[in-house]
Structure formats: C-alpha cells, structure tokens
Subunit: 161 residues, 2 copies
C-alpha cells in the first residue's frame, strides 16, 4: 500500500521466473518445453494477483500456440513444486494460484459478497502461529489463514451478510 510499483515491463519478471523454472527442471532432469515457457509468460501477462487453472484454459482457447488443458494442470503442479507459484484453496471447489516471485508470505481476507481477496501480512500473527504450534509439539511448515467477511465497499453498499 505504501509503495506502488508500476510493472511496465513484465518481461523482466518472466525472464527471472523462466530461469528459476529452468534451474528447477534441470535439477529434476525434466524439460523446459515451449508450452511451459508460454504458460509462464501468459501468467505474468495476465497480471492477476490470483487465478485458476480455468482462467488459463480460457486464455488459450483461441490463441496460438495452444496449450492444452491437461498441460495447464500438469504445468501448474510443476510450477508449484518449483516454488514459482503458490496454491490456495479458498472456500470454493477449485484451486487458486498466485505468483510467489520473491513476494513475502501473506495471508488473505476474503469478501463473501464480492469475492474480492485482500492480502495482508502481520508479523505478530506469524509469531503467534509459531508459538501455538510449538506449544503443541508441532513443527510447522506453512500455514493458511483466511478471514471471511464483508469488505468496506460492500459494507458501504449495504451488504451486511
């Protein structure tokens, strides 16, 4: 909120991400195909903070070169493994993805009226979570914190659940 970065040349981001994917694939003896490149480009081009597999399927319906549905699903999984994407499951039946891209960890506020997702980060929250986990002898790897409710705009419009 304090600092707003205008991404007028997203290609820089794509380049870094493709490098990262390449390094991951080499480590795994897997291949950097044109589809995987194209997908990653499309993901960056969309510049959506959150997207689904289906968003990508739609993007490729009338586009050349095509990337099939199966490849999209398979590639999303690879990119999650590679640490390029993060996978979330908000209330719904489908998975939601976002670029990790050196972004710090954050959690989500989800408006149940307009489906808007607001990201937040709280150092206090992170510490408290670690504290709770330790108290139960638990070794945390990651967490998912979702707060559902009504956002400011919707509340203003009278949507009070």
């Amino acid at each position: 909120m304090a600092k707003s970065t205008i991404r007028s040349a997203p290609e820089g981001g794509v380049y870094e991400l493709t490098k990262k994917l390449e390094r991951y694939l080499q480590r795994k003896s897997q291949k950097l195909t044109s589809q995987r490149r194209t997908l990653l480009e499309k993901i960056v081009e969309m510049h959506k903070t959150h997207f689904t597999a289906d968003d990508l399927v739609l993007e490729f319906i009338n586009t050349r070169p095509r990337v099939s549905k199966a490849t999209i699903y398979r590639s999303l999984s690879v990119m999650v493994q590679a640490g390029i994407l993060e996978e979330h499951q908000f209330g719904d039946s489908y998975k939601v993805y976002e670029l990790s891209e050196g972004r710090p960890h954050h959690d989500h506020l989800i408006c149940t009226n307009c489906q808007k997702i607001i990201e937040f980060f709280s150092e206090e929250m992170e510490e408290l979570q670690d504290k709770v986990a330790k108290k139960h002898g638990f070794h945390p790897t990651h967490h998912s914190q979702k707060i559902f409710g009504i956002c400011q705009q919707c509340w203003g419009k009278g949507a009070r659940g």
Copy 2:
C-alpha cells in the same frame, strides 16, 4: 486436555441436537424427516471429531433404514445452516465436517505426515484477527486458520518433511 469427558450415553447429545435441528427447520418451514434424524444419530454415534460426506455414505451402505447419498449431501448442508455442523476444507479435495455442539470456536494444526488434526484455541489469535480485519475496513464473519506441519509423534519417528 485437562478435562476428559466419557460419553457413555451419547443419546443425550443427540436429543439436544435433534431439538436444535427441529427448531431450525420449523423456523424455515422445513421438515424433520426420519432420514435427518437417523443421520444426526449416526453422526453422533460415529464419535469422530472430523468426518466426510463419504464416511456417512459408507455407514449407510448396508444399514436399515438406508439414507441415500443425495440426502446425505443435502442434509449436511442443512445441518451447517442450522449451526449443528461446521464445514472445513483442509488441504484435500473433499469437505470435512465436525459437530459444533456448543464447542467453542477453535482452529487446526494439520500433520502432513499422518493427517492427524489437532485442535487449538488462542484468545490472542482471535483478537489479532479482528484487529487485522478492522485495519483493512473489513467486517469479519468467520475465519479459518490452518497450520500445516509435522506433529510430535511423526517428528519423533524421523518424518521431518
């Protein structure tokens, strides 16, 4: 953990819950059918802290009176509306339910090795969540806090991710 209650007569619980369901259904001009009664009984009998729709489908495969899959899904939804059940989506593709039954709100630690779910409650966490929501002009209705990791037992057995 401090107090351990032996439920030797779970029928008491069923009675209360059935009353609660009845009140809800009357308010909505809906009907308390034998299937809805039977389902609620079965849910209490299972005394699982967390169960899925499919768990219930299996329970009714060779049992009289039967309750169909469609009715199970429809009834679970009704019971969530009635405040009798809580619905969760932990990492997997299916939904997980638990009885609310006057239990205080709590969150979950999920062992990614043995799938065990540990419940916890932290007043501090609740307050912090409200604080974060307010900071973003957000009016929270509920939240879902999941911490994934390795539980004490699994860690002891060498499962360190």
